[in-house]
């Protein structure tokens, strides 16, 4: 699964994207976050308060309860500041 990070999330993690090997027990975005938080303290810090984070699946706005699979592109970012 391709996972992308933007804005301060990218800065905190020190990367803009990565490939994650996901097993069958990763069914939702929440499951993916639980998996990512096992990586290190930076991930725990980023995902400690998900109310300040938005997520997309295949470039469509999504929620943390939405299903994901290995072929999806998932992105995490703070609320948008366009315009």
């Amino acid at each position: 699964m391709k996972v992308l990070y933007f804005s301060w999330i990218k800065d905190k993690l020190g990367k803009s994207h990565e490939e994650i090997q996901v097993s069958d027990n990763i069914k939702t975005i929440n499951d993916l976050i639980t998996l990512l938080k096992q990586n290190n303290e930076n991930y725990k810090d980023v995902f400690k308060d998900t109310s300040s984070i938005k997520v997309s699946i295949n470039m469509e706005t999504a929620s943390f309860e939405d299903s994901v699979n290995d072929n999806d592109e998932v992105a995490f970012f703070p609320p948008m500041t366009g315009g």
Binding site: P78, T81, G83
Partner: protein, 149 residues
């Protein structure tokens, strides 16, 4: 029509292009967003716009389609820049064209309100000695929500 680009745009050129795409225009409404020269009381050195290539085009097309569905419009132009911009530079352009003023003015306002909260852009502001990711404003979300009524 939507464009996501690093380079600057010309309002005059874009109005000329838009006029060529349709006829019987009775009203044009335009909005240009510009980089301010201050962050609160501090002098702003630059603003860098990060975006999500692919999703940006998708979202801008959705916003454009929504405006065309809600109002009787003859043409629209949305241009959003990304990359490093200096104070005074243009960030975003919205043009809406219709037969009568109400549709053009309302839809232009709608498009910029939705761009604020639905356009996948993130702004990084630099002052002389610091850098900040700009937080989304709750006021912008309120402005977006008012279009749901």
């Amino acid at each position: 029509m939507i464009k996501v680009q690093e380079e600057d745009f010309s309002l005059t050129d874009e109005i000329t292009f838009l006029k060529k795409r349709c006829n019987n225009i009775g009203a044009l409404s335009t909005f240009i967003g510009i980089v301010r020269d201050k962050r609160e009381d501090e002098k702003l050195v630059s603003m860098t716009l990060e975006h999500y290539p692919g999703m940006t085009e998708k979202m801008l097309n959705k916003i454009d389609t929504e405006a065309l569905n809600r109002w009787d419009l003859l043409a629209t132009t949305i241009i959003h820049r990304y990359g490093k911009l200096l104070p005074g530079e243009q960030i975003v352009l919205v043009i809406t064209a219709s037969k009568h003023r109400k549709e053009a003015i309302e839809s232009c306002h709608f498009i910029i309100d939705w761009l604020k909260t639905k356009g996948p852009f993130w702004k990084y502001e630099k002052t002389v000695d610091k850098g900040f990711w700009v937080d989304a404003k709750s006021q912008d979300l309120d402005e977006e929500l008012k279009w749901n009524n």
